[in-house]
């Protein structure tokens, strides 16, 4: 992984979004309701595991800070309920600190950690790795397109 991150052509920031209060390990206060494209009311937060001893927010910070330690061009920043995040915890992958619409909602563990690592590697490239005809078609879009991919760790 260090070798992949050493080859990044530009810096990549991981913006970790936590529910308010969770950074301090406390229960979050009630937040104003809001909806996202799915019409979900209020920010959904990862429920505690059955034993209650897994803090997904803290684990997300630990994972992202750990990834940042593996490459000089990878940095990690943590915010509580930043704008544009409907679920927590989440991490936005930002080339040169810019919002480009690449996000992972939930803790990427198991096999899915590879998806986050892959996103970092891709965000660190100056040029898209898609086929030229795919890039051309996507850049010709005249309206926004939201892709959501539901995944599981296995």
């Amino acid at each position: 992984m260090r070798e992949w991150f050493a080859e990044l052509e530009r810096p990549v920031e991981l913006l970790v979004a936590l529910k308010a209060g969770s950074a301090a390990g406390e229960a979050g206060d009630a937040r104003p309701e809001r909806s996202d494209a799915f019409g979900v009311r209020g920010p959904e937060e990862t429920p505690r595991a059955g034993s209650g001893d897994v803090d997904f927010g803290r684990e997300m910070v630990r994972v992202c800070e750990g990834l940042a330690e593996l490459g000089e061009r990878v940095t990690c920043r943590v915010e509580e309920e930043p704008e544009g995040f409907p679920r927590f915890p989440a991490v936005s992958v930002r080339p040169e600190g810019r919002h480009v619409g690449v996000r992972y909602d939930g803790l990427p563990w198991g096999y899915e950690l590879g998806s986050l690592v892959g996103a970092i590697v891709e965000a660190g490239r100056e040029e898209p790795t898609l086929r030229p005809e795919s890039v051309e078609a996507l850049q010709a879009l005249e309206s926004d397109l939201a892709l959501d991919v539901f995944v599981t760790p296995t």
Partner: protein, 62 residues
């Protein structure tokens, strides 16, 4: 998942979000997520499973 991320990085018009289905059961239930990966386009469930780049593109632009 990586394909969707690549598409978001290739176009300012595209956003790509991976959603851990087990961690957000409310949303997963609303969208009837029984198999993964489930691909949702503009809030509408479209298909389950991985497909090659050209087919992925064809489906999301359809």
């Amino acid at each position: 998942m990586l394909l969707a991320f690549r598409m978001a990085l290739a176009s300012e018009r595209v956003t790509a979000t991976a959603i851990e289905a087990n961690e957000f059961p409310q949303l997963s239930q609303e969208l009837g997520v029984w198999a993964v990966p489930r691909i949702v386009v503009d809030g509408e469930p479209r298909w389950d499973g991985s497909v090659p780049e050209a087919e992925f593109l064809r489906r999301i632009l359809a």
